[in-house]
Subunit: 244 residues, 2 copies
């Protein structure tokens, strides 16, 4: 049996960096998803293996706390492990580490397994009880379990139409592209003085090509806000952002 | 002296693929820019080296002919070489090759060297005549020298505001992000039956944060069209696309 912890190296290409020369939140998000994909694949429950059962993993929630954004042309390691498996969800955690051993970020994700045809959740414990064998008991993730993110209303601050570049290999709105649009709400000047320290997102519905989405903002405190991405009156995904 | 031809390996991450499971045009564009960056760096005229002279490379034109888009989780090689250096421009060419040796694409780019402060072109032959030593005479690039791309007018088909995710490490609109917005003009259904076989872009002005850009389309033939990205009445970049 492979070790419970997987560790994967990534390189921060300068062309994916922002004006500060740092990896952006969406770039880190892609690293997490990639690390999760390889970790699951190597252990026999990746996309390819489970698609034979007509099942797919769906990202339900993502929370990340970032202490230090990696610089352009820097390498980093992403460690990932499974913290828990329940009937309908797996909790997968991550630590991002510089090559010097400094912790850059921690993250927690929650995944559901759904029937590709039915789009309904699968009972993971009944379907693949062996996944629980990979639960890594001894490793702590300081990112708390996600709490409810309330709705935001009022007038939309920006809107966008889901286009070709938003659609992923599974023909759905790319979960990281949602995040890209969410942080596009903020001005460049704002990012000069502020950094996203914590970001939580919950995916509530599936966006598709041509959907006209609107973003609503509600400020919780001077450093915290909620961005709600809606299709009509329905929230497609909600994010809570803490700035430092 | 290093060889005139540089060859670099890239991996097509599944999370950068489109709904067909293929690398997108912007992904290939990023590979080209990355290969160019390393090739120039290794030969002493990369961004870092020339910034000591207060000079920066600016992409003026890019033409690419794609015979086969690489698949997700596939590796490919990007070969690049300098075809010509004149007073104000260098011509850099590329061949994209599968690991099996099949040519996937050819590309041609034209670069100017500008003063970082003045934003004015530098006489390359006077400033760095040694770059011409790297001209690779024996290698042919079938992509023709770019011709003028006419303006497109009428009513704009889509518009967008330049946001955080569009701005690159140099604080300008990312040249590949322009391309992403250009191909977002087309429907997903259109891409089911059509593939971009040739794409040309000329960059005419610099876009900045907050700019409200509008895209105009003019159809040249059943397979050819022009997309003009404008800020007010001024063309910021123009593209010619040939579909197959």
């Amino acid at each position: 049996m492979l070790t419970k912890l997987g560790e994967y190296k990534f390189y921060v290409e300068s062309y994916v960096c922002d004006f500060k020369g740092k990896a952006t939140l969406p770039v880190l998000g892609n690293f997490l998803l990639k690390a999760a994909t390889i970790h699951a694949h190597q252990r026999g429950f990746g996309y390819e293996a489970i698609s034979k059962d007509g099942v797919a993993w769906v990202l339900s929630r993502l929370s990340i706390e970032i202490y230090e954004y990696p610089n352009h042309d820097e390498e980093l390691l992403v460690e990932t492990w499974i913290e828990d498996v329940t009937r309908y969800f797996t909790q997968r955690c991550f630590r991002l580490v510089s090559l010097a051993g400094e912790t850059l970020a921690y993250a927690r994700t929650i995944w559901a397994a759904i029937g590709v045809e039915t789009r309904r959740p699968i009972d993971i414990m009944a379907w693949r009880p062996d996944i629980a064998d990979y639960i890594a008991d001894g490793i702590a993730c300081p990112v708390g379990k996600p709490s409810k993110i309330p709705e935001a209303g009022g007038e939309p601050i920006i809107g966008y139409t889901v286009r070709y570049s938003d659609i992923d290999i599974n023909k759905h709105m790319n979960s990281i592209k949602y995040i890209e649009h969410v942080i596009n709400v903020f001005d460049l000047d704002f990012f000069k003085d502020n950094t996203i320290r914590k970001f939580e997102v919950v995916y509530l519905a599936e966006g598709g090509f041509g959907d006209k989405l609107k973003l609503f903002q509600s400020n919780v405190s001077e450093t915290d806000c909620i961005i709600d991405t809606k299709k009509g009156n329905e929230s497609v995904c909600r994010s809570r952002i803490t700035f430092a």
